[in-house]
Structures are given as structure tokens and as C-alpha cells.
């Protein structure tokens, strides 16, 4: 079992240091940009050279590494890494017709720049890896951490995920029909009844190990699926529930990645329907926006909710009875092709 001991998130909501998620920060121009802190832990010269993905990744990670024993591994999920640097370099190539170019953006553009910069700044020479499998980049990082922790339960690992909105990946996904054409506010995201969602970004980091004592939450199990068939998704969810819950045991909360895209609603509805109508349902994409590693923000929110035993009203889709929250099932779908289930329990 993997236990989460500390968490840190830089998201479009007030999640960093003093989390205050009852107040919903609004989207601007169909985008939810992160609220960036001042980054007191990063030397200013270095901070200026960092692209946003590296900055929010390192910024969320450093507070977790301040007091804890140096982790035995740094495990990061990111679909795109430093997209902005990547395209800045691309623009140089085309605009200078492959002439003499400055390499800075090229080096910062590699997806592994986030995990390796955390390693560099904390002089950590241990296991260091970057999973980039689009909508399951965070989930694969999480599976990696689960395996690492089984191999070495006493050791701390830094687990996290990061993706940024750059003008460029926004343009590509917009052209491809994944961001809404009409203006939509995040407050009204679930009422839109049109295709596509709004863009988001964020960074969530977790200090994890195999020790239950002092933990906030544990991750009981995770399952990932590649399919566009909701029947397969439902059948895998049923297997997942059967495997992980005793016959009389129930989840207290279903948290879903519903994102206002009416093409994806069938997956969420089908999964909601396998639970009885007394199971409370909450959603989070109006807080994070849609991006490939948004499930990491969902995971951070689930941890926060289990710890605080408090649910912000704006998250609730189906009424919640006032019982103690112990188990949350998080279901997320990315573009209706990649799906994940995570069962998160209060430690």
C-alpha cells in the first residue's frame, strides 16, 4: 500500500500553502491559469530561465523536500513537459531557417527537465524518471511509485505531475476540437451541452512511502484502460470495485473528471450508474480545467477532502449525506480514449 504523507499543488485555485478551495477562481478566455506563488526557494537567476512547466513543477516540489529525508526517487508524469520552450525553439528553427540558434529552449523543452531540475536543485542522485503517456502520464508515475514503495517501503519518494497551458498546445488542441469555440465560464462548465472543455494547467506533488503512521491518505489501487467503448470501461470499473471493496463496503464519494464535453458524458454517466443513488458525486474540472495530467489535481483534491472532511459546495453533483468520508473513487477520462480509476482512502 502506498501512503501519502505530504502534498503540494500549484493550480488555478488557492491550493498552494494555505489551501482555500471553497472560493472558486474564475476562468478567463476559456482558460484556467495557475495561481503562481513567489517561489522563495528558487534562486532568482535560475527562476528567470525556467519555463512555466519547470517552474510550477519545481515550485510545488521544493516545499516537500525541505524537511523530509532526501527521497530515494523522483517520479514525474507530464504529457508535454516544457511545451512553451519547445515551440520557442521550433519557431527559431523556422524563422532563422535552421541557422545559428540558442540552445536554451531546446534543453528546457525536453519533458524530463522537470524531474531532472528537481534532482539538480536538491543534489538528488537517485532514481529519476519522467512518464509522458498523455492522459495517463500521472497514473503511470503513480504505478511506478507503488512499485518502488513495495521494493523499499521505508524510503520516501517524490511523486507528481505537471502540465502547462502554452499558447501553442492550446492552439493545437483548440484546432483539434478539444477546447470550446464559444466563450464559457468555469462556473457554467457542466451546463454547456456542447463538445469540448476549457483549458487548464497545474502541478501536484506528493511525498509518499510505504509507512502508514502519520500518513494523510493511502492509495489502495489503480487501474488504467485504453478504449473508447463505455461498456468496456464500465466492466473494468465493476471488476475494480469487486476486487477492492468487501461485499458490504461502499465508497463514500465518487469523484469524476466530467469536463463539460457532451461527447464524453456517456463515460461518466455509465460509471455513475453502477453505484446506487445514495453515493455522493463530486466533480473537479471546473477547478482545474482540462489537461492531460488533470487527474493529479483530482488526486490532490481527494487527499485534501479526506484530510479536511469538508466538501466545497461548487464541487457537488449529487447530494452528500453528512457521514464521515473514508473512501473516494476517482474516475477520469482523457479524450474518451484513456481512462483511470483510483481508490483513495483516509489513512
Amino acid at each position: 500500500m502506498l501512503y501519502i504523507h505530504q502534498t503540494s499543488a500549484i493550480s488555478p485555485q488557492q491550493s498552494f500553502s494555505n489551501a482555500a478551495i471553497d472560493i472558486l477562481h474564475a476562468s478567463v478566455g476559456n482558460k484556467l491559469h495557475v495561481i503562481e506563488p513567489d517561489y522563495p526557494g528558487i534562486p532568482p537567476g535560475l527562476l528567470r530561465r525556467m519555463g512555466k512547466a519547470v517552474r510550477i513543477g519545481v515550485g510545488a516540489a521544493l516545499p516537500l523536500l525541505k524537511h523530509a529525508a532526501s527521497p530515494e526517487g523522483i517520479i514525474v508524469g507530464t504529457a508535454n513537459g516544457g511545451m512553451e520552450d519547445c515551440i520557442k525553439f521550433l519557431n527559431q528553427i523556422i524563422e532563422y531557417e535552421e541557422g545559428l540558434l540558442a540552445p536554451g529552449n531546446f534543453v528546457q523543452s525536453t519533458a524530463n527537465a522537470i524531474a531532472s531540475t528537481i534532482g539538480l536543485l536538491t543534489a538528488n542522485k537517485k532514481y529519476n524518471i519522467t512518464h509522458v503517456h498523455r492522459g495517463l502520464a500521472f497514473e503511470n508515475a503513480l504505478m511506478d511509485a507503488i512499485m518502488m514503495s513495495k521494493e523499499n517501503p521505508e524510503a520516501n519518494y517524490l511523486l507528481g505531475a505537471v502540465d502547462e497551458i502554452s499558447d501553442y498546445n492550446y492552439n493545437i488542441d483548440w484546432l483539434d476540437g478539444w477546447y470550446k469555440k464559444e466563450p464559457v465560464s468555469n462556473q457554467d462548465l457542466y451546463q454547456t451541452n456542447s463538445p469540448a472543455s476549457i483549458a487548464g494547467e497545474g502541478s501536484a506533488m506528493f511525498l509518499v512511502n510505504g509507512i502508514s503512521s502519520g500518513a494523510i491518505v493511502s492509495i489502495q489501487d489503480i487501474s488504467t484502460i485504453h478504449s473508447d467503448d463505455e461498456k468496456i470501461v464500465v466492466s473494468r470499473l465493476k471488476d475494480f470495485v469487486k476486487k477492492n471493496l468487501e461485499t458490504d463496503e461502499k465508497i463514500d464519494l465518487l469523484m469524476t473528471g466530467e469536463n463539460g464535453d457532451n461527447r464524453l458524458l456517456k463515460y461518466y454517466t455509465a460509471c455513475e450508474n453502477i453505484f446506487n443513488d445514495k453515493t455522493a458525486i463530486v466533480r473537479f474540472k471546473h477547478m482545474s480545467g482540462e489537461f492531460p495530467t488533470a487527474s493529479a489535481i483530482g488526486f490532490w483534491l481527494a487527499s485534501h477532502i479526506l484530510q479536511s472532511q469538508h466538501l466545497p459546495g461548487h464541487m457537488i453533483k449529487r447530494k452528500f449525506s453528512d457521514k464521515k468520508l473514508r473512501k473516494i473513487l476517482l474516475y477520469n477520462s482523457y479524450k474518451g480514449q484513456q481512462h483511470s480509476f483510483m481508490l483513495i482512502s483516509k489513512a
Partner: protein, 388 residues
């Protein structure tokens, strides 16, 4: 196993070329670039269109990276005899690595990212790294854990390691692991901006080396649990792996090669082997000033007396995200055929280390062989394969 590189489009073509000491590095020819006709590269001389025809692929969104990946995957699946029901089962994993992904479409990406066109419609979902394995997964409906790893030039060594660990922890019964990268304007210009591309054919571990040659390629290996082997005869056993970070500089390795040293040490530890038991090493050996000297120091630190080693990048160039997998296949050849190939273009050793790679084909007795892969961001990995 399956492999495609500048040496050939299948396992036996690659092995024959290695045995004969052939060099696949030629002047860049197949795609329009300012470096076309000038820069030496390990280019696969099959056009993207011919790859599509040979593979009978007509999906409009497919990229050269996807095609090279499919080419090697097809051979690996044929070679291993995996059946459709095994591929589709939810205990078959696919772990692939790539650093270029769909960015081989550098010009199309430029126009779409800057929204100065209606969108090269077909390619909008093909630019990221994940697109390659999503394409491969769909072709074969692979049912288990699917992942893509990008740790720069050590990516596919880490994909092999991740696949092995999925099996070890019961998260997969078998894992298809490997990597692919195709030549791209993006990487050619990136490495050129760093001034580490050799103007001539690369000369790994030579005193006068002037940098690396980029290459392209793909390789996949099918890993299975020992208890599932029964009476079939596997090529080799994956016995050790190590991953460490050099934590020194974004694009160069520390003077004493701490990251490479730690990765090799950890691989030996997981394999339960002493350094003296390693019979040969497929070195990272890019041919850059920094890599070859620091890797040499790290090998001296680990082994004292360094076993026979080569850089097959002298045959195929640096295939980036595919390098760890292609070179893992070559390392398995060392074990299977009890032979080592010539490291090409070497003349004089680096003064401070004095190490000489093997420069002529020979038969050797080898029970355990190591393969090194180091990347930007200090991401260093080392694998050990043993005679089955």
C-alpha cells in the same frame, strides 16, 4: 525482438552488418532541411511513403516515428510468437519510449502551434510523445498497462526497466518494451545549437572525436516471466537494471561520471553480480567530448580493469529515445552468438583514461553483458543481460 536501424530493417540484417563492421552513417538525404546533403546521420533509407506501403498503413495521422515503431513491433511480435488473445489480454503491457514523437513533423507543428493555418488536421493528435504508443496499442489492441517514457537519451533503457518491474510486481504477465525515434529538424537543430554534432562520421572514444551523429531507429523486446518460458528457448535473461541521476548539469555529465557510475553499480547490485563477471559492455559512447571521457572514468571506477566494450553508435549514430532498446538488442546478440563487434572509426585513446574499445570482430565467452544509456538532465541508466 524486432529492430530497424540504419544497418537494416530486421534482426538478421542488423546482426550481419555488425559482424561485417558496416557503418550505416551517410549524408542526410530523405527530408528537406538546410542540413540535407551535408550532415552525416544514421538515416534509414526507406521513405515515409514506402514505410506506409510496406506496413499497409493508411491512417492519415500516422508519423514516421509511428511507422518505424510499428516496423520493429511487427517483427518482435512475429519473432516472439505472441498470439492475438495474449496481446489483447489485460496482462500484456506495452512500454515504449520516444523523445521526438510526432515532432518529426517540425514544419506542420510550427504552423499548427502558431495557428497560422486551418490546422494540418490529420496531425493534430500526433505531435506528442504519447501518440506513438497510442497508435501501436490500437493496431494490436494491446490490453494491459500502456506507457510512454521520456528521459531523453536513456528513455528506452528506462522503458525496459519499467516493463521488467511491471512483471516483477504482478502488474503484467508479459511486457513489450522498447523505443523509437525518427530524425527530425527539431533534434538536428537542437544538437547543432549545442555544438555537439560531428561534421564527419563520429569516432567514439577516440582522442580526436568531434561529436555525435544523430540516427533513427526502433526496437522492441518481449519480456516474459521465467515460469512462462517452459520449453521455449529465450534469447537472454534481463538480470539487472539501474537508474540514477547525475544531478550536475542540464546537458553534460559530471567530471567523474557520478550518474553513470551509480547506474552501473545499481545494475550490478540488482543482478547480484561482481564487476568482474561482466563480459562486455555496449557503452553509451556518443562520440562527444564530454560523454566519452566521463563514461570512461565511470567505467574505470566501477571495473578497475574495464571489460571489452564498444559503441555501436559508430554504426548507426545516436538514435536518442530508441538507443537503449536498439543497443539492448545488440547486447542480446553478444550473448546469443558469443561475439563482439568492432567499434568503428577509433584511432587513439583519450589521454586521461587510455581506454581502447574493441576494434575488430571476435568470438568471446560472455555470460553477462551490460548496456549503458545516459541522457540530458543527468538521466543515466544501465541494463545487464545474462546468457539464458
Amino acid at each position: 525482438m524486432g529492430v530497424i536501424s540504419a544497418l537494416g530493417d530486421n534482426l538478421s540484417a542488423n546482426r550481419n552488418a555488425l559482424v561485417n563492421g558496416e557503418c550505416g552513417i551517410t549524408t542526410l538525404g530523405l527530408f528537406p532541411s538546410a542540413y540535407s546533403g551535408k550532415l552525416p546521420c544514421g538515416e534509414i533509407k526507406i521513405s515515409t511513403e514506402s514505410l506506409k506501403e510496406k506496413l499497409k498503413v493508411d491512417e492519415p495521422a500516422v508519423t514516421r516515428t509511428d511507422l518505424l515503431g510499428l516496423y520493429a513491433l511487427n517483427e518482435a511480435i512475429r519473432d516472439s510468437g505472441l498470439r492475438t488473445e495474449q496481446l489483447e489480454a489485460n496482462d500484456t503491457a506495452l512500454v515504449g519510449a520516444t523523445t521526438v514523437g510526432g515532432m518529426c513533423l517540425t514544419d506542420e507543428l510550427y504552423h499548427d502551434a502558431n495557428k497560422d493555418s486551418e490546422g494540418s488536421a490529420a496531425f493534430l493528435s500526433s505531435y506528442d510523445c504519447g501518440s506513438v504508443n497510442l497508435f501501436l496499442q490500437k493496431r494490436y489492441k494491446i490490453g494491459g498497462v500502456i506507457n510512454t517514457i521520456n528521459t531523453a537519451c536513456s528513455s528506452s533503457a528506462n522503458a525496459i526497466m519499467y516493463g521488467a518491474r511491471l512483471i516483477r510486481h504482478g502488474l503484467a504477465r508479459r511486457a513489450i518494451v522498447g523505443g523509437v525515434d525518427s530524425l527530425a529538424k527539431f533534434t538536428i537543430n537542437g544538437f547543432n545549437a549545442l555544438h555537439i554534432l560531428s561534421p564527419g562520421v563520429c569516432t567514439p572514444f577516440d582522442k580526436g572525436r568531434k561529436g555525435l551523429n544523430l540516427g533513427e531507429g526502433a526496437a522492441f523486446l518481449v519480456l516474459e516471466k521465467e515460469e512462462d518460458i517452459h520449453n521455449r528457448h529465450p534469447y537472454a535473461e534481463l538480470t539487472g537494471y539501474g537508474n540514477a541521476n547525475d544531478a550536475f548539469h542540464p546537458s553534460s555529465i559530471s567530471e567523474q561520471g557520478d550518474g553513470p557510475y551509480l547506474a552501473m553499480k545499481e545494475a550490478l547490485q540488482t543482478a547480484g553480480l561482481d564487476p568482474g563477471e561482466i563480459g562486455c559492455i555496449n557503452a553509451h559512447g556518443t562520440g562527444t567530448e564530454n560523454n566519452d571521457e566521463t563514461e570512461s572514468r565511470a567505467m574505470l571506477r566501477v571495473f578497475g580493469s574495464v571489460p571489452d566494450f564498444v559503441s555501436t553508435k559508430s554504426n548507426i549514430g545516436h538514435t536518442l529515445g530508441a538507443a537503449g532498446a536498439v543497443e539492448a538488442v545488440y547486447t542480446v546478440f553478444n550473448l546469443k552468438h558469443q561475439e563482439i563487434y568492432s567499434s568503428l572509426h577509433f584511432k587513439e585513446p583519450i589521454e586521461s583514461t587510455g581506454l581502447k574499445p574493441v576494434t575488430a570482430y571476435k568470438k568471446i565467452k560472455v555470460n553477462h553483458a551490460m548496456s549503458n544509456s545516459f541522457g540530458f538532465g543527468g538521466n543515466c541508466s544501465s541494463l545487464i543481460f545474462s546468457k539464458a
